[in-house]
Amino acid sequence: MTLHRRNRNDLGETVVKWPLENSPIPDSELPLYNSYYLHACRTPEDPAMIWGTEVEVSKLQDYLRIANRESSFLLTTSHILIRAVAKALEKHPDFNQRVVGKRIYRFKAIHVLMAMQDPREQQAELLLVKDANQRSLSDIAQTIWKHHQDAARGNFTYQKEKQTFRFFPQPIGRWILNFQQFLSNRFHLPETSMCERQRCSPVLVNYLGFRGAPPMKMFKASRFPNESLMMNITMGPSELRPIVQNERVVIRPVAPLFVRADHRTVDAYRIAQFTETLRSYISNPDQMDVQTGTRQATSNTKQNRSEAKPPPDARAAGTKSNTHHTTSSPA
């Protein structure tokens, strides 16, 4: 069991990290209908809302084409998507939170969970990109490619976790899984290396624009049993489509984008605002300060967490931005 393996400092001492802020958001700060879903919703009822839209991706494709001439790491749409989600979470901190029991807690930092596929075993793998809003695009790409490289050598994290559960007899393994979910959904727990991926991010990002994928018109991402993943963002393959620009019909590459959020924490109005921010970042990656966010993050977690912490009046101010948008050239 590698429960505390990654939570050690340079001196080898065990450090207990807590992903969430110490106290939940007071009920008085929660909008009425979020409270309604939070307290009245049971499993058969579904508080999920999905906003589907489209993104024109010609600027994104140009951006990648130029960036890949200079970049040390191959940059892809999924890397841009992760960074765009992180920057959108930074701008809309109301989405960087999760349900624990019947309370809502904000995350201290902005971590993004990405789904990837093991093509040989046909299994999904999850990769947690920590402090994604603080990292440059090439840093995100490096992290992901490193994981892909390990994966290509057969070192998938899910395989290690499966081995851990197979260590126990099947009924006990199943009981452990259930108990783990029970604890995680009801109690404010510290990070452990085994479960941090499922518990330390509010969002799961799917990029389903792989080669051979059919055009996507509708996609409903499933709800992970864990309450931490309040949101799912899925981007599908781009296709050439006629769209109207400046009152003229033009042919442009367009990709579908689906944002699934939870009515216990946000409402449709705020999903619309979040989706529009995300859409603008994806359709114009220059808007994200891709070069300024170098990886100060992991070297000074405490500082970053305080930076990632939403301003006290963020809730009252709805989706007030705490991010400055600068235009920069590709990383």
Binding site: N68, L74, T76, R120, H148, Q149, A151, A152
Partner: protein, 86 residues
């Protein structure tokens, strides 16, 4: 040059089969522009290069410079094999 040609030929066949391209793939086809190289293909390629060509790729090798065309990839493999032999 013969070694590189052999590697190019083998890699062209591997990529064309995996990506199911419906046109003849050439060693200088831009894999990025054609949308052939995505993360799944990268994983397949890394596994293939390491198992079939016995080279070990470092973090820095996963750059567009090396993966843009089959020719670039073949040159990388040949260079790695050469450094292993010496």
């Amino acid at each position: 040059m013969e070694i590189i040609d052999t590697i190019e030929h083998e890699l062209t066949g591997f990529i064309a089969k995996r990506a199911q391209v419906d046109y003849p793939l050439k060693p200088d086809t831009d894999l990025l522009e054609e949308g052939i190289l995505d993360s799944l293909m990268m994983m397949d390629l890394v596994a293939h290069l390491e198992s079939q060509h016995h080279v070990s790729l470092g973090d820095r090798d996963l750059s567009p410079r090396h993966f843009r065309t089959v020719s670039c990839l073949a040159a990388l493999v040949a260079q790695k094999q050469d450094s292993l032999n010496h």
